[in-house]
Amino acid sequence: MRLVASDVRVRYPRARHEVLRGASCEVLQGQSLAIVGPSGSGKSTLLGVLGGLISPDAGQVEIQDGHARGISGNVRPRNVTAWVFQTMNVLAERSALDNVMVAALVRFGNREAAREEALRCLDAVELSEHTLVPTRALSGGQVQRVVIARAMASGRPFILADEPTGQLDRATSQRVMDVLVNTGDPVGIVIVTHDPDVAERCDVRVRIDDGRVVPL
């Protein structure tokens, strides 16, 4: 399965220029893609388009699977992508397990199966000791690993990460990246980052230049 953006154009309301002017990129399941570029270049906008949270003015985003080009029906970018943001998007008063279980419950519709999967994913990000701790009591790096575990538990084939280490120190960033690129699941990962070390950890690196995607 691959997530493909083709010739995407986006202009925000009241903006004078298009932020994306024919941007194209793709990521395969099991592959990691880093998108770099200066602030305001449209990195996060492209990520939003890939995840189906921003509708492009032109161009398209497709999920391509095996022999068929494009999958119709319920399979939309929104339904195959999970998010990891720079800011800590968690239910702060709820435990790590609760946070991860919500995603797993959407996936399985069964609390037992969801709990089992949530515990597996928390173990994968080395948080099995903290499953019942409210996330507000965890460190920034731990919270980001909870978010990665939640993305894994969603079972979605692509993880979109917007500056996932932007608020973390170097050592913690390394650890979070270790977890993110070694989930053990065959997921495709798209990471928007300013950090060259983070980009270096990815299989493919591209840059946004003048609203278009160019290889590094």
Binding site: S44, N79, V80, V106, G155, R156, D162
Partner: protein, 371 residues
Amino acid sequence: MRHTHGTERWRARDSINEALVNVYRGGAIMVAVIAIIVGVTAAAVAGDLTAGNRIVASEATYIAAGGDLIIARPGNDGSLDASACARVSTVNGVIRSFSLDVEVGAAAIAGRPEVQQTVVTATLPVVDLLHISNMTATDVVASRILADRWSWQVGSIVGLEPSDIERPVVPTGLRTVVAVRDLELLSEGASTGLLTIRPAVGPTQSCFVQVQRAYRDDIIAALPALLAERADQPVQVAPRLPEGRFAQNSAHDFDSRPTRFVGLGAGVVAGFLWTVVMWMRRGRAALYASLGVPWSGGVLIRWGEGVVVTVSGLAWGAILGAVLAKMHGLEGWDVTSIVAGHVFVAVAVDVIVVVVAALWKPAILFALKDR
């Protein structure tokens, strides 16, 4: 790894469970919201109950002064029939009716021959109006002025003699003071009198009718026909208290009191407070949506959280308001229906506001990056 693309596995009970756990684990924000709603509702309910209590107390004063009494008198020098007056008590809306005659200076008091004593004779229902029990034909009720003047009290023996031997219009003999009352309630002339009981037969100077407020005008209109012995006999009917002085309609005052809408106000406050909280927590709504919780599931989560928090705040606030009003002198009138009415209106308005606000659809990306 098994990939799931849809959101159809999320069920309504999952949303309800999330809402309840979010409230339970909500901590300071939930406590603060509930506390504000409790405070606002308690103040509103206590304010309305206090306002209602003032009206009830005012009505009690009004009735104690004779505000619900109507007096019928013959329109000429004739008299009314005491038995006809007694029959008026069977009319719908009439609480009681009794004949009353004031004989100024009709008796002398034994041992004080210089005193020309006013005697009031009335039929038996007057004792209920005066809140007297077990009064017999040999008892008298002393007016407060008279009791103070002669140091009479309950149990004192009073000897009555006719002041005019040729006009023995009042009962005489030894009488026991069974009660001391402010007889000005009945008439100005009775304020210094001694009241005795007479049978409900024969002519009478006046017929007193105590009425329920809602029937007052109808009864005033009907009394002449009920009391006239002949079709052409004039009967004058007038309220005991002059109109405009104490005239009041407590039921109308109560129904139109400005604080009657406090339930509506509390519901609006609670609903909009929760709407503000929902806006502050919009990132959570976006988070659930980004995880694949369908819009309807998100609405149910937001609705469940809002209803649990605001309705509990409204209910506890109403109870606290009633308790506070009680502690500050609320008298014994039934406030349950008033409080229940406020709670019903407040909850209905609050739920409507919360439900409408919960329908809001978050802009996921911006809400999540905005935190």
